[in-house]
Symmetry: C2
C-alpha cells in the first residue's frame, strides 16, 4: 500500500511566520515536525503492540497452566526483544546527521531559554544534560530517544493506579489482623535492609576504588540511596501466583501488606536520604543534625501523606453516604475516580508523597466508600481500576525490558553488580529472620520457618525500584545504580517469580483444599457444559464441602464465602487489631457507611441525640437484616449450591436455570461478609484438624 | 497545617553536576524544578476539582430534572469562573521577574538546541514562538502557562475515546437505514457549509481591511480553513437531551450520524486546505492543480483512514471470534482497548487521520467484535469507554471555559465575530434545507419540515471545532479564528443546547409514548419501592403496552426491546441499506461473529466445503436458537414483564424475585435483537394509527 503524504499542521506553533519570507525554511521545519509526530505515534504504537502480544501470550500461558513464567516476566522478555531490534535492527532514522547548533552562556543552565532568530523570539525548555561524547549522536538516536519516557510519567501516571488498586483490593481482614507484623516488616525491616545494603555497597565501592574500577565519585549517601530504592519489594508476581494457587491467607496478607507498605517506606526513605545531603556543602559525611532532620522529614512526610489519603477517602465516603448518586452509576464512578486521583495530586502539591497518600486513600475507599456505592458502581470501579492497573503494570515491565537496550547511559560495573546481588540477599535475610524471631515472641499465631523462607524467597524487586532508579540518572553513580537495579529486577522476577510454584510445594505452604476449589472455579469459568461439573460433584465426596458458595466472576476476596452460623470474633486476633476493629465497627462504620450497627446502640446513652441524628434509617434496617441473615446462613451438611451465571447447580445433580437466589443473590452488608470470612477460617481449622485433604484428579495436570 | 518542605529529586537531570562546584546554583535550579513540579500538580488538581464540582452539579440538575443547561454547558461555566480567578485573582506566582537569558542564531528555529555552559552541554527543545511584546511576561505568567495544554493532548488523548465511544454506541440499525442521507449531509453538506462560510468570511475580511480593522495578513485559504473547522457540529449536548427525552429515532440517527461523520470530514477537509496552500510560494490565490490535489488528498486520506479503522476492527473480531479469551474478561477488555487505541496510532503513524480511523474502528467493533465478547467483557468495555468518554468530554468543555481567560493571545475582532455568527447560520441553512429537499425526492420516509428545523437548530459547535482551532494559534489570523470559535462554541452550547427541550416540544418531535417509557425507566431506576410501580401499572391502561420489556441498566439502544412475532424486513428501507444488510448478514456476520445464519445456508452450493470450514458449531446452535426464540417471543396481549435487578414485576401486580428469566434473561443473537428493534417500529406505527397517546401524570413535572 502506498503511503499517502498527509499534510499535517505545524506542530510547533512558532515555526510559521505568517506566510511571509523564508518559505523553504518553514517547509523544512514543518517536515521535521511531521516526522517527529510520526515517530511519536510509532513509538507509542510499539508499546501498544508489545502489550497486545503480551496479552495474547498470557492467555496461552493461562490456558496451558504454565506457571514458571509470570506475565510480568513475559512482558520484560518481549520488551528486551523489541529493545534489541530498536537498537541494532533499525538503521538511523534521522534525516540529517549534523550536530545541532549550539550557543554559549556563562550562567548555569536555566529552565527557559530564548532564541533570537532575526528579530523573532522562540522559547526553548531544558531537556537535560548531554554527555560531551554524545553530542554528535543527539539527532542520530531519534528513535531510541523517542521510546524513552520522562520518569515523571512513571510517577504521576503509571504508579498511582497500581498503588491505588493494591490498596483497594487489599484483603482487609487479614491485613488488619496482621497489621503489627506488617508494619514491623515494612518500617523496621525496610530501614534495616536499607542500611545493611547501603553499608555493604559502601564496602564494595571502596573495593572498586582500590582496584581502580571506579572512575567517578560515589558517596556514602549514594550507597544509602541505593539501599533505599532496592529495598522496595514488589507484590506483583508472587502474589499473582499465590492468588492462582490459593496459598495460605496469612502468608499472603504478610507478603502483600509488606510489599505494599515498603513501597511507600522506600519512596519516603529515599527522598529523606536526598534531603540528608548537607545542602550547599559537598561533604557527604555523617552529620548528626542532618540525620535527625532526615528522620523528622521521614516521619513528617509519611504521616502527612497518610493523613491526606485517609481524609480524602473519608470525604468520598461522606459524599457517597448520602446515596445521592445512586441513580447515576456513571457519575458515581467518575467521582470516585476523580477523588482518588486528586488525592495523589493534592499530596504532591502540598509536598507530601502522592504514592503513600493514594495507597491509604485506596484502603479507606475499600473500607468505607465501597459499602456506600450502588451495586453497579462497585463493579464498575473495581473493573476500571483492574484494567488500569493491568495495563500500567504490564507497560512498566515491558518498558523495563526495553530500557536495557534503549537507555543510552548504562554503566555496567561487574564488581558493583555482583556486590549488589550479594547485598540484597543479606539485606533481605537481616530483615526477615531477626524480625520474625522478635515478632514470634509476641504472636499467638507463630510465623513458621517455612513462612519465613517463603518471605525471604519472595523478595522480588519490581516497578517501584525501577521507577525510583530512573527518576534521576544524571550522575555516574546514579547511572550505575540504574543499570544494577534493572539487572536485579530481571533476575528476581524471572528466577524467584518462576520458582514460586515449586517453592510453595517444597515448603508445604499450599493448602490442598483450596487447590481443589481453585480447580473448581477454573472449571466453572471455562466449561460451558454444566453437566461435567455436576458429574464431578457427584463422583466426589461432597459432604465435606458443604460450606462453600461460589460466586464466579467476583474477586477472590469474595469468592470463597462460607455459609456458617456463628459470629464470634476470633480470640487470637492481635490486640492492635481488636482495638481498631472495635472502634471502627462501633463508630466509624456507622458514621461513614450504611453498614454496621446503628450508632444509638454503640454510643453511650449521654450521646443519644447526636447518635439519633447521625444514624441513617438504613442502619436500623441493616441491623434487622443482619439478624435475618444469621438464620439464613445456617446450612445443613450436604447442601451445596454453585451458581454459574444464571444457572444454579445443586449438589444432587439437578441443574435449574432459576437464577441466583437465596444465599448468593442477596448482598448482605459488609459486616456480615466479614463475619462470613471469619467463619471460613474456623471451618478451615476444623477441616485441617479432621485431617481431611481433598485433592482432585485435575491436580495432577498442574 | 504546616506544609513540610519536601525534598524532591532533581526533575531536570542536567541540573546536577555530580557534586562538584556550583552548589548554590544547583540548589536554585533544584528549587525551581520543585516549584515547577508543584505547579504542575496544582494545575492538574484544578482541573480535577473542576470536574468533581461539575459532577456534583450534574447530579443536582439530573435530580431536579433541569434541562435548560446541559452538563457540558455547566462545565464551561465552571471553567470560565476558574479562568477568571486564575487570571485576576492570583498574584504573580513567579519567584523572579527577570527576562530569561536569550541567545541569537542566524538560521531558522531548530527543534533541538545545545547550550554550552562552561564546557557542559545541555539540550533544549523548542516550545514555540513568543510574541516580542510577551518576552518580559514569559516567567510572570507561570500559572497561566501551566494550565495551558499542548494541543496534541486534545488530539491524541482526549478525542480518541470520545470518537470511539460515538462509533461504539451508534444505534446501528437506524444509522444504516439512513446511511445515504447521513453521508449526504456529512460530506456534501459539510463541504457546502465550509465553502459558504469561507466565502462569506472572505467578504468580512475584505470589509475589515476597508475599515482598517485588520492589522495583519488574512488569506482566502485562512477563510476556507475557518469554514472547515467551524463546520464540524457536535453531537454531545443535543443528543444527550434527545436520549433523555427519547425523541424520534430517525431524527436522532440523522443528527448523530451527521455530527459524528462531519467531525471526520472537517478534520480531513481542514488538513486538505492546509495542503492546498501552494508550497514554498506564498500566492494564496486559486490554483486549479492545487485544488484537485487537495480533493485527491481528501479522498485518499478519508478512504485510507476508513479502511484502516475497518481492518483493525475486523482483526479484533477475528481474534475474539476464537473465543480464546472468554475465560479471562480482563484480558479481553484490555485487548479490545489496546486494539482500538492502536488503530488511532497506526493511522497517525501512516499519515492518515487517527480520528476517522478510530470512528470506523468503533463502528466495526460494535457490529462484529461486540457479539464475540463474553458477557462480562461486553459490559466492561461499554462501561470503560463510557467513563473515559464522560471524563474526556467534560474535561474538554471545562478547558474551553478556562481558555477564554487563560489563553494569552486572544484577538477579539467585533466585525469578524459578528460576521462569523451570521456566516455559520447561513452555512448551516444552505447545508440542511437544499439537501433535505434533494433527499426527499428519493426518500420514502420524507424528512419533515419540523425535522429540518430541528437539524438546523441542532447545529452546535463543540469539542472538535475547538480542538481544530487550538491546534495552530501561531499567526494573527489563526488567533482571531480561535477566539471566534471559542465564542461560537459558548453561544451555541448555551443557547441552542439550552433551547433543545422547548424546541422539541414546539416542533412536536417528541413522542408521547416514549416519554411515558422514559418516565417509567426513571422510576424503575430510582425507586426502591417496587409496589409503587406495580401500583402505577395497575392504575393505568396497560393493555396497550403489551409489547415492551425493560432491562434496566442496559444502554438505551437495548432498553426498549419489543417482543413481537414477525421477522420481515421493512419495505421502506433504503436500497443502499438493504444491499449492505444482505451482504453483511449473509457473509460478514457468519465469518466474523458467532451470530447470523451458518454460511452453509447462505453461500452458493459450489462453495460448500469452504462454508463448512468457516462455519463454527455455534452458528448452527444459533440458528436453532433463533427458531426457538421465534416462538418464545410471541406474547399475548396483556402480558407485561418488567425486570428490575433480580426482581420481576408482572403486569398483574404480583412481584416475584425469581430473577431474569425467559424473555429478558436470554441473550439472543444480535440478529434477533435487530428483528426485535424492527418490530418496535411496526408496533409504533400501529399505536400511532390507533391514535393512542399515553401520557403519565409524571409528565407534568417535566
Amino acid at each position: 500500500m502506498e503511503v499517502i503524504e498527509a499534510p499535517e499542521f505545524n506542530y510547533l506553533d512558532g515555526a510559521e511566520d505568517g506566510g511571509g519570507g523564508g518559505g523553504m525554511e518553514e517547509l523544512a521545519t514543518e517536515k521535521e515536525a511531521e516526522e517527529s509526530h510520526r515517530q511519536d505515534s510509532v513509538s507509542l504504537l510499539t508499546f501498544i503492540l508489545l502489550l497486545t502480544l503480551t496479552i495474547l501470550t498470557i492467555w496461552l500461558f493461562k490456558h496451558r497452566r504454565v506457571r514458571f513464567l509470570h506475565e510480568t516476566g513475559l512482558a520484560m522478555i518481549y520488551g528486551l526483544l523489541v529493545g534489541v531490534i530498536l537498537r541494532y535492527g533499525i538503521p538511523s532514522t534521522s534525516y540529517h546527521n549534523k550536530t545541532p547548533p549550539s550557543c554559549s552562556l556563562k550562567e548555569g543552565p536555566v529552565s527557559t531559554l530564548l532564541l533570537n532568530v532575526s528579530g523573532k523570539f522562540f522559547e526553548y525548555t531544558l531537556k537535560g544534560e548531554i554527555n560531551s561524547r554524545e553530542i554528535h549522536n543527539v539527532e542520530q538516536n531519534d528513535m531510541l530517544r523517542k521510546v524513552t519516557f520522562d520518569p515523571e510519567v512513571f510517577f504521576n501516571i503509571l504508579l498511582p493506579p497500581i498503588i491505588f488498586h493494591a490498596g483497594y483490593s487489599l484483603k482487609k481482614r487479614h491485613f488488619f489482623r496482621n497489621l503489627g507484623s506488617i508494619l514491623t516488616y515494612a518500617f523496621l525491616g525496610t530501614a534495616i535492609s536499607c542500611f545493611v545494603i547501603g553499608n555493604l555497597m559502601y564496602g564494595v565501592v571502596k573495593l572498586m576504588q582500590v582496584v581502580g574500577q571506579l572512575t567517578d565519585k560515589f558517596y556514602y549517601t549514594d550507597c544509602l540511596f541505593f539501599g533505599a530504592i532496592i529495598s522496595a519489594t514488589d507484590p506483583v508476581t508472587v502474589l499473582a501466583i499465590f492468588n492462582e494457587l490459593h496459598a495460605d491467607v496469612d502468608l499472603y496478607a504478610l507478603l502483600f501488606g509488606e510489599s505494599v507498605m515498603n513501597d511507600a517506606v522506600a519512596i519516603v526513605l529515599s527522598s529523606s536520604i536526598v534531603a540528608y545531603q548537607p545542602a550547599g556543602v559537598n561533604t557527604h559525611t555523617f552529620d548528626a543534625s542532618a540525620f535527625f532532620k532526615s528522620v523528622g522529614i521521614f516521619l513528617g512526610i509519611f504521616s502527612g501523606s497518610f493523613a491526606m489519603g485517609a481524609v480524602t477517602g473519608v470525604v468520598t465516603a461522606l459524599i457517597s453516604f448520602q446515596y445521592i448518586l445512586h441513580c447515576f452509576p456513571l457519575l458515581e464512578t467518575a467521582l470516585f475516580f476523580l477523588m482518588s486521583w486528586s488525592t495523589f495530586l493534592l499530596a504532591e502539591a502540598c509536598g507530601f508523597t502522592g504514592v503513600v497518600a493514594v495507597l491509604f486513600c485506596g484502603i479507606t475507599q475499600a473500607h468505607y466508600t465501597y459499602n456506600n456505592l450502588s451495586e453497579e458502581s462497585t463493579k464498575r470501579t473495581k473493573q476500571l481500576f483492574e484494567v488500569l492497573h493491568f495495563l500500567a503494570e504490564n507497560f512498566i515491565f515491558s518498558y523495563m525490558g526495553l530500557a536495557l537496550f534503549t537507555f543510552q547511559n548504562h554503566v555496567f560495573s561487574p564488581i558493583f553488580i555482583v556486590g549488589a546481588f550479594i547485598a540484597i540477599f543479606i539485606g533481605r535475610a537481616s530483615n526477615i529472620y531477626p524480625l520474625s524471631f522478635l515478632l514470634n515472641l509476641g504472636r499467638r499465631h507463630k510465623i513458621g520457618g517455612n513462612f519465613q523462607h517463603m518471605m525471604m524467597f519472595a523478595g522480588l524487586r519490581g516497578a517501584m525500584a525501577f521507577a525510583l532508579a530512573i527518576r534521576d540518572t544524571a550522575t555516574y553513580a546514579r547511572q550505575m545504580m540504574f543499570t544494577t537495579t534493572l539487572l536485579i529486577v530481571f533476575f528476581t522476577v524471572w528466577v524467584f517469580g518462576g520458582g514460586t510454584t515449586p517453592m510453595l510445594s517444597c515448603l508445604h505452604v499450599r493448602s490442598g483444599k483450596l487447590i481443589l476449589i481453585s480447580h473448581w472455579v477454573e472449571a466453572l469459568q471455562c466449561t460451558v457444559n454444566h453437566t461435567t461439573i455436576v458429574q464431578v460433584i457427584k463422583t466426589h465426596n461432597t459432604s465435606d464441602l458443604y460450606f462453600f458458595c461460589f460466586r464466579v466472576g467476583v474477586d477472590p476476596d469474595q469468592d470463597l464465602q462460607p455459609c456458617g452460623d456463628s459470629f464470634q470474633t476470633k480470640q487470637e486476633s492481635a490486640w492492635l487489631f481488636r482495638l481498631w476493629y472495635t472502634f471502627d465497627h462501633n463508630y466509624l462504620k456507622p458514621i461513614l457507611t450504611h453498614s454496621g450497627p446503628p450508632l444509638t446502640t454503640t454510643l453511650p446513652v449521654c450521646c443519644g441525640p447526636l447518635a439519633h441524628c447521625l444514624t441513617s434509617p438504613q442502619a436500623y434496617e441493616n441491623s434487622e437484616q443482619l439478624r435475618d441473615a444469621d438464620s439464613d446462613l445456617i446450612l445443613t451438611d450436604g447442601d451445596l449450591t454453585l451458581t454459574y451465571g444464571d444457572t444454579a447447580i445443586t449438589a444432587n445433580g439437578a441443574s435449574s436455570s432459576s437464577g441466583p437466589k437465596g444465599l448468593n443473590g442477596k448482598r448482605n452488608g459488609s459486616t456480615s461478609e466479614e463475619a462470613l470470612e471469619r467463619e471460613l477460617d474456623t471451618r478451615e481449622q476444623e477441616l485441617l484438624s479432621r485431617g481431611t485433604r481433598l485433592v482432585f484428579p485435575i491436580e495432577d495436570h498442574a
